[in-house]
Amino acid sequence: MPKVKVPRKSTAIDMTAMCDVAFLLLTFFILTTKFRPSELAPIDIPNSTAQIPIPDKDIMMFQIAPDGKLFFGLDDQPTRLKLLDRLSSQYQLALSDKQKDAFRTLESWGMDIRQLPAFLDMDPNERAHFQHTGLKIDTTGGEAQIEDLILFSRQENNNLRIAIKGDKSTQYKAFDKLIQALQNRKVNKFNIITSARAAKE
């Protein structure tokens, strides 16, 4: 019996289509991606059935870490700069252009406003590893730094919405202090950021 000759086929596969698909998907992801902002503290947000997505712009975000530290962030860079101008005149901070530029790119921060110039002077790497001490809460009197932040930001951008992002395990008293500051500025409406959950369990 003569052997059946199996024709030798090349193992090379045409990669063209696969390559096309890969880059098509890549383009999709590049265009839709919105990078997670770097977090100052890990915050695990609570669930709720709320269905309204957070608007993309005009957000003033307060973050409350599990240990009660408060962080502040504005999403809009021009407003950040205007806010910094107001703060520097209120707290007599003399800021260079370099420091202002550092503040412009600052996603969120939390410290005594008077410490800001020193913080902005650091080089970017140092700044990324800096331990934020949390906004200075002083409800009994004296300076009201949080109130100033709220007031100035809202004066510079009238459409700002206030969002509060708190960790599940944050104690209520940290939240309460923030609410008091908000109410001192006559803000009675704000949003709590939650992740989606189904109503039926």
Binding site: D14, M15, C19, T33, S48, S169, K189, T194
Partner: protein, 189 residues
């Protein structure tokens, strides 16, 4: 497309081009493509967080307290570790010892049952379950998660009237001392 095999093998000027085909090995390019895809997939966040509207009672507004019958109101105190203390006051005079105080650990099912029970009771006495007014009184050491869950249940159970207030009434003080065994917080007036 990549294997434009031998299309341009011969040119007019008679110079012989190389014989080998023009197939390009795309494996590396595909690798790179998928590597970048995985990077962008991991760095993107698809489940956009949602927002929940909260309205606080106006603390320094015009001083015009509207009177609500006590039997329409329910107080929920949120304590440590998701504990909830709830009570309802009668319209007439009462002694604190007679107030029935429910205490339980928060779970959506139990909580909902409680709210439905209060809604039924209010509907029986006042004719409409929408008359129910809930005071939410989070204690200082209660978890933020409990508050959010309770606020969420208000929406789910269609409780239209509720407010976050401070635990300042006499009964609240009593609960502090007898049940939670802590000192009541100082009340600033």
């Amino acid at each position: 497309m990549a294997d434009m095999m031998n299309l341009s093998k011969q040119t007019n000027n008679g110079r012989r081009s190389r014989k080998g085909n023009l197939k390009v090995d795309l494996t590396a390019m595909v690798d790179l493509g998928f590597l970048l895809i995985s990077f962008f997939m991991l760095s993107t966040s698809f489940d956009k967080p949602k927002q929940m509207d909260v309205f606080m009672p106006n603390s320094k507004g015009p001083n015009d307290p509207t009177e609500i019958k006590l039997t329409k109101t329910v107080s929920l105190m949120l304590g440590q570790n998701g504990m909830i203390y709830s009570y309802q006051l009668p319209d007439m005079d009462f002694t604190i010892q007679d107030i029935a105080i429910d205490s339980f650990e928060y779970s959506a099912a139990v909580f909902r049952k409680l709210i439905f029970r209060y809604q039924d009771k209010v509907a029986r006495i006042h004719g409409d379950k929408k008359e129910l007014f809930i005071f939410i009184k989070p204690l200082e050491n209660s978890r933020f998660e409990t508050l959010v869950s309770v606020l969420d249940e208000m929406n789910i159970c269609n409780v239209a009237r509720y407010a976050i207030v401070k635990p300042e009434s006499e009964v609240d003080q009593y609960i502090f001392q007898k049940i939670i065994n802590t000192k009541p917080p100082e009340i600033k007036l």
